[in-house]
């Protein structure tokens, strides 16, 4: 009576994962434009007025007008944007009228769309510091989504976010569909407000188009009818609450229950261990959230293998729930000794450490700590400790930090040239030295953590200046995974 094979389990989990993602994408939430829940929220805001999404465009005179600012093209390459109000993280900001020159060659440098993804400061909220600075890296042609982005220092940047796909020459550029197939990654981040998409060539700017989310996220003018709010709002508010709270976990739970029971009874092994030992443990964020809501623990995570290393060096896979970090030996023998790692206690994305031109002024062993604003809540982090991230050249940078509050920390860098790209992750890390007195062989599991308080591993043998290479690992292959 065999247990389900690893290949079938992988395929089955993959299908469940895709189905759940598809369903949740359609069901959605306030961060999923066009979804069931998102549209109901908009209906509610239509009744009540205002907007619930934390990022969006607002008519400059919201109380007077339902219309959003109109974007116009004032010359072949210049798009004009009127004075507008944009909402970031739930706060409204006034941005003065401006224009954006999108020509392929501009000011002696590469144009916006052709250039690298660099931030282009346009206007401070209070003054109007216009300081273009561009780098040179040409593409043949390109498309970009033009957006506003803000930092906690309340400066605003009008920026092209280059997109890799560009419509063909045959495409009907007036068709909204032509601009549709892009992931809405940054829209969910609460920082950007996409304004329009543009297509730029060497000789002209054929078209630009306001993005759908420009309208989707817009402020809804309240109806001047109290009776409407009184009569209809309660019902649509309840409808929204039920839509936002639904995650279909009751529908999917019997499937996971059956899978867990099947593996445990037929394989005499825990579901988690079976997954860890036999599959790549590649699950979507959405399904992992579902699993956490069902069982209180994340699905297993493979942090790294000796063979693969960390593919995405600017990020590290992390678990959604804390636990031990373990190393499993796949070949060779681990001689008695110490295994040293930097384990991850917390992960957060940055909003921006400081103003754009200050980014390169951070130097090694500076005595003045810089304040780093975090996009995520770091309340679970230790009050002080070590911080790590990767800079623009994919080098690991270390710092010490002191937590100021849940979203701000003071840092002192330990290495030259740190750079904080916006919305890139930083990690709160702790060094872990684990001593083992006996040799262990293939199949053995070494617990790398002294306590179940970690969500991943940042660095290990051979990586990083702050690390002492542990000799015993030199003759083994292994995988490091959640415990």
């Amino acid at each position: 009576m065999p247990v389900i094979s690893p290949s079938n389990l992988t395929k089955l989990m993959g299908l469940i994962d895709r189905a759940y993602q598809s369903l949740m994408s359609a069901h959605g939430g306030l961060d999923t434009p066009g979804s069931y829940a998102y549209r109901i929220n908009q209906a509610k805001c239509l009744i009540r007025g205002g907007s619930d999404v934390s990022v969006g465009a607002i008519p400059a005179s919201a109380k007077e007008s339902y219309d959003l600012p109109t974007l116009t093209r004032s010359s072949s390459f210049v798009i004009s944007i009127p004075t507008s109000v944009f909402k970031y993280s739930g706060i409204d900001y006034l941005v003065k009228a401006t224009s954006l020159d999108l020509r392929a060659s501009y000011g002696g440098a590469a144009g916006y769309v052709r250039g690298r993804d660099q931030w282009m400061p346009i206007y401070d909220v209070l003054s109007s510091n216009y300081s273009p600075s561009l780098s040179i890296n040409y593409l043949l042609c390109g498309s970009a989504e033009i957006l506003y982005y803000s930092t906690q220092s309340k400066k605003f940047y009008l920026s092209p976010q280059k997109i890799e796909y560009y419509p063909g020459y045959v495409v009907d550029l007036n068709s909204p569909e032509a601009y549709h197939p892009y992931p809405d990654v940054w829209r969910a981040q609460g920082v950007y407000t996409p304004l329009f998409r543009a297509q730029v060539f060497a000789t002209n700017l054929p078209t630009f188009m306001p993005t759908a989310s420009f309208y989707d996220n817009s402020y809804g003018k309240p109806p001047d009818d109290d009776q409407l709010v009184r009569s209809v709002f309660g019902a649509v508010d309840d409808l929204e609450n039920s839509a936002l709270s639904e995650n279909y976990k009751n529908q999917f739970k019997p499937v996971f229950d059956a899978l867990r029971k099947h593996v445990e009874s037929k394989g005499s092994i825990s579901f988690t261990t079976y997954l860890k030992d036999n599959t790549a443990c590649s699950f979507s964020d959405k399904m992992r959230d579902l699993y956490v809501s069902l069982y209180g623990v994340d699905l297993p995570v493979i942090y790294t293998t000796l063979m693969s290393g960390f593919e995405g060096i600017d990020d590290r896979p992390v678990s959604k729930t804390k636990g031990h970090v373990e190393l499993k030996i796949n070949s060779g023998t681990f001689a008695a000794g110490t295994v040293s790692t930097w384990l991850i206690k917390g992960r957060a994305k940055t909003i921006g450490v400081c103003d754009y031109f200050d980014q390169y002024s951070l130097t090694m062993a500076t005595t003045a700590a810089y304040t780093l604003a975090l996009f995520d809540n770091a309340s679970s982090w230790p009050d002080n400790g070590y911080l790590a991230w990767t800079d623009d050249f994919a080098e690991i940078v270390y710092a010490t930090y002191v937590k100021l509050n849940s979203t701000n920390i003071a840092i002192k860098t330990l290495k030259n040239g740190p750079y904080f790209p916006v919305l890139k992750p930083v990690f709160s890390i702790e060094r872990s030295d684990r001593y083992f007195s006996n040799n262990v062989g293939v199949g053995s599991i070494i617990n790398l953590s002294a306590s179940p308080d970690y969500i991943g591993v940042f660095s290990y043998y051979g990586e990083g200046d702050e690390f002492t290479p542990p000799a015993p690992l030199s003759n083994v292959t292994y995988v490091i995974r959640s415990g």
Binding site: A19, R39, A43, I47, L140
Partner: protein
């Protein structure tokens, strides 16, 4: 703004209708990439076999072995031509086999753009298309062939090669894309010199799965997956909206002293179709749709809109009829709620017979029928008489005016005479009682004065 404001209600209807549609799109097992489709796939993987109505079939469904390591491979040959192997597909539950051959999608892209033309140095023109198998059955003889549908935009390599082909089709295929009789096999980028088809990687999600081969695993895992599939397929959020719509209806009535439907009909509001579906689901009544926007002696402008719930229709005058005027006579051709019948094959203009599959015992011995392709929108109305062969309808010669395929359903049509009296003020209506779903023809035999015209709408 108030709820009686047209802009406001249209926006509210759009938001409610779109939200409803978005979730409902996940419940259709035949819609690629929907949650129901994917869970069905998981269930079929445990049980073996498949229960889709559409999709490619590997040559050996027992072992799950397919061509080219799981793929149905379409390779490029030269100059705008692809080569394909024997391909079997399911189209609406029936299996079709296409012998190997070649296929050219042509040089002309969407909008009439020729890929052989030059559009700037180093920028060869290309277009993207979905190549697939199309049902061309006729008169009961099953047949299929390769065909393609061209996108109005270019696919990226990732889009073409990925497994998101369902979303690709759903989001970007032209409205005429014939989901009912076309099974996609590959996505291709077409240039002046080559067709670059993807292997049918994206088809892997729709092909037959070999059974898992272990009874215990089926016993342990099939039931919860089957239940989940049933649950997703039965997701129907319309009841969630009832309180909101009840309040909207109630408030409209209190503000206007008119029923919601009547109020907006009086404004001739074009309700959002998604909202109409939701409304009809909740109240078993279409909130209001104009079936003909103009009827005169010489012409009738039909909207070809379908009522989302069968019901009465009303014939309405748009101008006052003077007291001394002539009585108005009109004939309306209305689809009724008798069971529609599916065609057994293609029919073409001037065909004298229709071969159908399914029973038509409830239909009158003679009358009118209506058929329309939901994708191409081609349609015809014809008179019929049942023959001794229950599957054959005899239509008047030359009455079939458009080609429609075997996926099309044929509807019974009633011819209803409407008589409107004299001395009627504007917007006087005559209600025609019945379970009608669509107006497919209208003639005015007499009317009082040249400037008077009429509309027909759901009652």
């Amino acid at each position: 703004m108030s709820i009686t404001n047209e802009t406001f209600i249209l926006r509210l209807e759009e938001l409610l209708g779109q939200s409803y549609d978005r979730l409902m799109s996940q419940t259709n097992r035949n819609e690629p990439s929907s949650a129901a489709h994917i869970i069905s796939k998981a269930k079929n993987m445990i049980r073996g076999g498949f229960d889709y109505l559409y999709g490619p079939i590997p040559p050996d469904p027992i072992t799950g072995i397919t061509l080219e390591g799981g793929l149905i491979k379409v390779t490029t040959q030269i100059q705008n031509t692809v080569v394909y192997p024997t391909i079997s597909v399911l189209i609406n539950g029936a299996e079709y086999v296409v012998p190997p051959g070649t296929f050219s999608p042509g040089y002309i892209g969407p909008g009439g753009k020729d890929v052989q033309a030059s559009y700037g140095t180093g920028r060869p023109l290309r277009y993207s298309a979905i190549i697939g198998i199309k049902d061309i059955s006729r008169l009961g003889n099953k047949a299929a062939t390769l065909d393609c549908y061209k996108f109005s935009f270019r696919c990226s390599r990732e889009q073409a090669a990925g497994e998101s082909w369902g979303a690709l089709v759903r989001e970007y295929a032209p409205a005429s894309y014939p989901r009912n009789y076309f099974v996609p096999i590959a996505v291709a980028n077409v240039t002046a010199t080559y067709v670059w088809p993807t292997h049918a990687l994206h088809m892997a999600a729709a092909v037959y799965d070999a059974p898992i081969g272990d009874d215990d695993q089926v016993a342990d895992l099939f039931a919860p997956l089957n239940d989940l599939e049933d649950t997703i397929e039965s997701l129907e959020p319309s009841s969630n909206y009832r309180r909101t719509l009840d309040q909207v209806l109630s408030l409209t009535r209190s503000l206007t002293s008119m029923d919601f439907k009547e109020y907006w009909k009086s404004k001739r509001l074009r309700h959002n179709p998604s909202f109409r579906r939701l409304f009809a689901k909740l109240y078993n009544s279409d909130p209001g749709v104009e079936l003909a926007s103009y009827i005169d002696n010489a012409s009738a402008v039909l909207t070809m809109e379908q009522m989302y719930a069968p019901g009465n229709v009303e014939f309405v005058t748009l101008r006052e009829i003077p007291a001394a005027a002539t009585v108005t006579n009109a004939d309306l051709y209305l689809c009724n709620n008798l069971s529609p019948i599916k065609l057994a094959g293609w029919v073409h203009p001037n065909d004298a017979t229709l071969m159908v599959s399914g029973t038509h015992s409830s239909w009158p011995q003679a009358g009118f029928l209506f058929a329309r392709d939901p994708y191409s929108k081609a349609y015809f109305v014809a008179s019929y008489a049942k023959t001794s062969n229950p599957n054959i309808f005899l239509a008047g010669n030359g009455m079939i005016t458009a080609s429609v395929g075997p996926w099309v359903e044929v509807y019974n049509v009633e011819k209803v005479a409407v008589v409107m009296g004299t001395g009627m003020p504007t917007y006087t209506k005559v209600v025609v009682t019945g379970d009608y779903t669509m107006l497919v023809g209208a003639t005015l035999t007499r009317k009082p004065m040249p400037t008077t015209n009429f509309i027909v709408r759901s009652a």
